[in-house]
């Protein structure tokens, strides 16, 4: 077989080693860095896209949580305001009721006071009138002899006057 002809072995060994060394050098220097760079660049882009997608998902999740939290806060705030409004209305109604009751009591008190005053004034007037009548009657009695008939007539007249006075409307 021609492959076993050793005459060419030295040059073939040398060129095999030189060629392989050249290929190894070219691959290490020019070929592999470009291939690796292209693959790594793509891997980096994919990694970044994945990171961005993950970040976007996290942000969306965070926004959803914030939105839910805000909704809960708004709901809580609305409930609080409603309760406050109800409390305020309840308090205002209670206050109005108390004021109304106080007004009623005041009016009642005023009424009783007025009634008492009117009574007292009426009594005073009666007392004054009675005193006047007694004084007038006494004066009349002192100026002339009194007989029983005149006395009775005088008293009767005085009582009529008194009734007439009672029937006249008062100032109150």
């Amino acid at each position: 077989m021609p492959q076993f002809d050793t005459a060419h072995f030295p040059s073939e060994i040398a060129w095999t080693l030189i060629s392989f060394a050249a290929l190894l050098f070219l691959c290490r220097r020019y070929v592999l860095p470009r291939i690796v760079a292209a693959i790594e660049e793509r891997a980096r882009m994919i990694r970044e896209d994945l990171e961005q997608a993950r970040a976007a998902r996290q942000q969306a999740e965070r926004q959803r949580r914030e939105y839910e939290q805000r909704l809960r806060t708004i709901e809580r705030e609305a409930r609080r305001r409603l309760e406050e409004a109800e409390d305020r209305i309840r308090q205002q109604r209670a206050l109005a009721m108390r004021e109304w009751q106080a007004e009623m009591k005041r009016r009642e008190r005023d009424f009783h006071e007025d009634l008492s005053l009117a009574k007292q004034q009426a009594l005073r007037e009666i007392r004054q009138h009675t005193a006047d009548l007694v004084a007038e009657a006494t004066e009349r009695l002192l100026r002339r002899e009194v007989n029983e008939e005149e006395l009775a007539a005088t008293v009767e007249e005085m009582l009529r006057d008194l009734r007439a006075d009672e029937q006249r409307p008062t100032l109150h």
Binding site: P2, H8, S11, E12, L17, R28, I35, A38
Partner: protein, 241 residues
Amino acid sequence: MTVESMQPLRAFEVQVYWPLHVGALDLSISNTAVTLWLAVLLAVAVLLLGIRRPALLPRWPQLLVEQYYIFVRTLTLANIRQGERFVPLIFSLFTFVLASNLIGMLPGMFTATAQLVVTGTLALMVFLYSLWLRFCRHGWRMLGTFLPHGVPGYLVPLLLPVELLSFLARPVSLAVRLFANMTAGHTVMGVIAFFGLLAPWFIQWVPLGLSVALYAIEIFIAVLQAYIFSVLSCVYIDDAL
């Protein structure tokens, strides 16, 4: 054309185009040397053309180059523990053998890997490299690594020569496997093609059709042998670590 003129082994003859000696070193330019240069230049050119405009969304040339690199890298990492630093070596070895094999498939071209001295040089280079790695890792205690763990002392005199012999047979088997496959394939193809040319015109289609099928098988074998050579190189390197 006669049967006597059939010389399929002539395709493996080394032809010196330009005798060249640098001191004691014989650097004669032969068809082997030219084919090896062509293999290197074509391989680098194809790889660089494929990756010349790297795009994020690669076109098919870039995709092929990247997939080729990923394939060799996966092969290396699968067979060598922490083998990242050996990827350039195995990539170059795979590319060198594959390019040499495929160039030999072109009509009229010489097959450098059908030369035992070429495959032997590559195999010896891998063998010596793995031996150097073994020495760096274990020092002179590397002799002890030839024995499997837990071997009884009385078996050492028997096992040590066997293990050493199998170890030394590695480069031989590596070289002969590639050389024999390439030589046998090309020889068979040459013989069948010659028969096709010798046959009567009405039956020529049988051997010529068969040679087309053999051609496809040879391309497959060219790739397979490059793969086997690289995988075994990885195994030897990993064994040394």
